[in-house]
Amino acid sequence: MGGVIVSRNTYIASIRQALTEEMRRDESVILIGEDVRLGVFAGTRGLCDEFGPDRVIDTPISELAVAGAGIGAAATGLRTVVDLMFGTFLYLAMDQIANQAGNMRYMFGGQTSLPVVFMTQNGGGLGAGPHHSQPMHPLFMNMPLIKVVVPSNPFDAKGLLKAAIRDDNPVVFLNQLSLGATRAEVPEGELVIPLGVGEIKRQGSDVTICSAGLAVHRCMEAAEVLASDGIEAEVIDLRTLKPWDKQLVIDSVAKTGRFIAVDESYPTCGAASEWAATVAEFAFSDLKAPVRRVSNTDVPMPFNPDLERQVMPSAADVVEAARSTVGVGIGVNADGMPAVDGD
């Protein structure tokens, strides 16, 4: 990359870099939320020094009004990034996000665009207990006109956040809580990853493993283990969950004939459900074995870090699912098939 400065960013530094660059590039971009000046997650730290308190706006603890203010500002000429700290706090702002932002453009017949990003921390991994660890993405995926982004690494975090800020639609941008300190090479300046486009992280011919966010790392670890068994897994990082890159997944399954959906969220109506259903609907004739889902155990996120690890998809879970699916062919009596879980 001739002339481009590349540094080994943490995920959090990538977020800060994306915000800084976009705020420099476009003075209509503002940032609003609780303690964004001091920067509780450090992703917004220092921005007020450069851009001043009119563009980096601290608020009272009032998620509903703050989210709504972001929407009102986005409908009247600004691009707003609303920092809502932790995923579960979005429940307090849900009327504004779902009922207002989620409908506004459509229900007003296209009279407005709505360039607002709701940014928060998603999922578990820090032993933070049930109110600070919940995976939120399936809820937003169900909403017709909200984009949902879940980056899995510092490079993508930067490129996707820049794209999200430039997007004229409401975007829920979900940083994976436990990836904050991970590092990767990230170029300074223009790096924009289009929303809705997934990435093949690893080529493989035997099984397609589809994932996003933190779980991508588990899938990549699993792929290494599987390779030593002679099973070549193709690992897809969707990056954007709504709209999502169906074609990439379907094409991959056409090649591999086997499909595993790995998602760090609750199993029922989770992201894995959507991916698995889509493959079963649109790539059925390619499938040599049942689709498999690996999701969280269907319980609130427990505090104890060991329990929390057990709840979330592990590399071992993915390996086991892959082995069982690769061992199963159509017509074979389904020995490798899991029992219906009985809750």
Binding site: T76, D95, L145
Partner: protein, 354 residues
Amino acid sequence: MSIKPITQQTQQVQSDHVDSDQVVSDPIDKKSVGAVTALDIYRRVVLIRRFEERVGMLFRQGQLPGFVHLYIGQEAIAAGVCTALRDDDYIVSTHRGHGHVIAKGGDPDRMMAELFGKVTGYCKGKGGSMHIADFSKGVLGACGIVAGGLPIAVGAALSAKTRSTDQVAVTFFGDGAANEGSFHESLNLASTLNLGVLFVCENNQYGEFTAATDAMNIENVAERAASYGIAGVIVDGSDPLEMHLLAQQAVARARQGGGPTLIEAKTHRRDHAEGEDAFLAGQKYRSDDELAAAESSDPLNRIHKDLLSFNFASAAELETIDAAAVNKVDAAVQFARNSDDPTEAVLLEDRWVA
């Protein structure tokens, strides 16, 4: 701790500094509105009234789908406030929103078409009565969620401040809405960010069929302004000219960076929703006295009388304006009837912005 009782007359807002202690109760000189503006207010009041009467009739005839909440009885508020606004000021409306849109200069044709669900409507038939918007006139939309509009108005005012314009944002809402968390957060946020928002509470004394007095243990919503360190004022929301003068002061202050005002307009609605008689099936929730009081404080009668007594217009002139309003409404119904239903292509429009 004590609250000084607020008399139910118009309270003056001072534009110098935000302080909930600055409410003076000078009698207002309604004539100071002037003939031109007063007639403008009348024109809007009467257009809202004729529009709403027709909508009620059409609904009862089964010609309109969905739910319809009419603005009849509250016209003074929208007309009084919106005549104090510029075209580029913002308003955010409610489920009872037709009057706000008309008062801000919305097009009755496109409104009526929307109520019929036609493609020529403001929202191409996809929004309906509770979701009419006209961004070209600063109408950021009606809202089916009680108190859903308040945060959006705060955002519009924030946007104006950040863009260094002096646009003002007004959010209308009901007495019932004042008990939603959204009310609290929005007023507090507007106060701490010192934004130019008018929070206009249309206290028609009921939220659906629950009396405001059962839903809060204070007499006046305006008292709540003290919780946010902003000015709170009470005005006779059945009096178009008083309403206008009060709004003017609050708008002036907001424009000059003086921050938000909570305006409580005491008023009466006719019904909660059209068709409620059938639904209530004889259940009563208001006394005959209340109904009579509502009747006698009719805002259209009030401004009609004022205009005559101030010699701003003759009865015949007012009659002409009224007839013009009826014509506009006739034309709007024609326009709506002659318009097409939205096609499936329209259904799929207005999703993502590319």
